[in-house]
Symmetry: C2
Subunit: 351 residues, 2 copies
């Protein structure tokens, strides 16, 4: 670990933190020193990294001085307090939570889409987008550059791991119970199978879809916070403050991999053939005949397919398409690591 940067991982013991640790190894990230942080509860435990046992420090009390970059995946409450403390100690914070995303002094960055915005981190904090928004950005960026994006109608198919480890456990528990009772009974009558009570989601999630991902925002519009993030973060990342967005965020019984069904309207006509040609070369994007979360899980790109003319939009100015992406990798850990790589390259260039 002699060459490279001094890196901190905050929330190292969590679901996204685990993927961050794996990606750092997989991508041969240039690290001269690594430190792991978590909440008080997990502090003191050890995590293996490249053959070494690293003791996890308490994020709330440890002195972060000496770190170059810290990747935070420990929730908004932790980030609100600790990100400024780390930044004040001279650490560039890359934050995975929603705490700082809409702060005008905090850039919201997708590595392939708006890396230049890293220069605007005047607070020493850079935000990583919501995982659902993230999946769509590398796709929409190239289409916007070609034809001028004006409107998005999005319905999502969001995996339970977007709700943390407990989400996956709840799906597995319910699915196991259903299968043990010969779930085929669900074909004719949902009540014929007894499922454990839902905890993490507002309805049972096994063999069901729950069209309310996130919590309803109390502004009278009836949208969830996930639906608002999709609008607000898309506008900020694509630098289209007037972009029209209507989202419906739905939880589905998928462990990992968020998907989006998108109808996009443009200022200029754009054919499915031209869109496909552009997307074939777009960074962070891979064409797929039938994009699906099971195949996207464990992979880096946003898979895009079913690219068609939106026949409800006149003059060839609409496209319909479907995207699947690993919400824990690009949707969270991978983009954070990519931003850290960009930061590391800048630090190396400065030396």
């Amino acid at each position: 670990m002699s060459n490279g940067i001094r890196l901190g991982v905050v929330g190292a013991t969590g679901q996204v933190g685990a993927v961050v640790r794996r990606l750092l190894v997989e991508r041969d990230f240039p690290i001269s020193e690594i430190r792991f942080f978590a909440s008080e509860r997990s502090a003191g435990t050890t995590l293996e990294f490249r053959g070494e046992q690293i003791v996890v420090e308490d994020a709330a009390t440890a002195d972060p001085s000496g770190l170059d970059v810290a990747i935070f995946s420990a929730g908004a409450t932790m980030s609100k307090v600790q990100a400024p403390r780390f930044a004040a100690a001279g650490v560039l914070v890359i934050d995975n939570s929603s705490a700082w995303r809409m702060d005008p002094e905090v850039p919201l960055v997708v590595s392939e889409v708006n890396p230049h915005a890293l220069d605007e981190a005047v607070k020493g904090i850079v935000a990583n987008p919501n995982c659902t928004t993230m999946a769509a950005m590398p796709v929409l960026k190239v289409l916007d550059a070609e034809a001028g994006l004006e409107r998005l109608v999005v319905s999502t198919y969001q995996a339970v791991s977007g709700a943390g480890l407990a989400g996956g456990e709840e799906l597995l528990e319910q699915a196991t119970a259903a299968v043990a009772q010969d779930a085929i009974g669900l074909v004719h009558d949902g009540s014929a199978v007894e499922l454990p009570e839902p905890v993490k989601f507002p309805r049972n999630i096994a063999f069901n879809v729950v069209p309310k991902a996130g919590s309803i925002v109390e502004d009278g519009e009836g949208e969830t916070d996930e639906e608002k993030k999709l609008r607000n973060e898309s506008r900020k990342i694509l630098e289209l403050p007037e972009l029209l967005v209507s989202g419906t965020c739905v939880r589905v019984p998928v462990f990992t991999g968020h998907s989006l069904s998108i109808n996009a309207t443009f200022r200029e006509p754009i054919s499915p053939a031209r869109a496909t040609e552009l997307l074939a070369d777009a960074p962070g994007v891979q064409l797929a005949e039938v994009p699906n979360p099971l195949e996207a899980a464990g992979a880096d790109p946003s898979f895009v397919g079913r690219i068609r003319r939106d026949q409800s939009v006149p003059e060839g100015k609409g496209l319909a398409l479907f995207i699947s992406n690993d919400n824990l990798r690009k949707g969270a850990a991978l983009n954070a690591v990519q931003l850290a790589e960009l930061a590391a390259a800048r630090l190396a260039a400065r030396v």
Copy 2:
């Protein structure tokens, strides 16, 4: 069985046929004589009905004379040949397949939406809509009457039972295999769990979503036949030949219950409050805070909720909403039985 009509059920041994038989009992359908028909393979078996054992006849060779009404749920190939033969014998055919839906001389009827169209069955054949389209019709009809429906953008969440009994078996087999291998491994990497090869669907369906329900139509537009049915059948049932529709039809790991995420645009403004008020009284519709297929399965109405302003449409002329409905009941068997009830009432009035 002395009062009532002489009823035939064609495809009586299939998945929808079984629900038809159950509904006839549940709804105390007025029957003076019942006959069951199926393909040659199932002919000769017996099915119990109201305590009697009924021998299943071969639909291709039996003489249908004497029946008043026949409900067909035996697929398009069977309907294409046998529906005209039954109709020629004076039997009113209510057909669940896609064979006759777009024939201009065959009315396509949802019992609550356009019952008057029953009078236009000049060929002696009435068609039952596709189950996905069906779920939305009772909801969209009242909104169209109020504000003038102009455009629909729809993403679906379709249950495996829409693909027949084999669909449910495939989901159960894959889910059982995944659960036995501690499917939580799917959280980080889809390849960590070995699933049986997909047969009925183009990708694995357990813990996945497959954005290609139906087959791609070879007209260069890239839509599936399910997506085209949604457009064409909506136009015919709502009597809006110019209605703009873009659909993305997606299979999800749900046994029964189709759901639709809909963005609807209207000629006149319509508020979510007004839409909710209208839908509270609409026949065949039930308001739900979080409509979901598990709760819709085994029930009759189209459950509708998440009714919001579509913020991407100016002047309050757009709504976003979510619908779940039992695709085997209202989506197929129930509407067919309701049409048979309407026909029975007319026959009774004639006597």
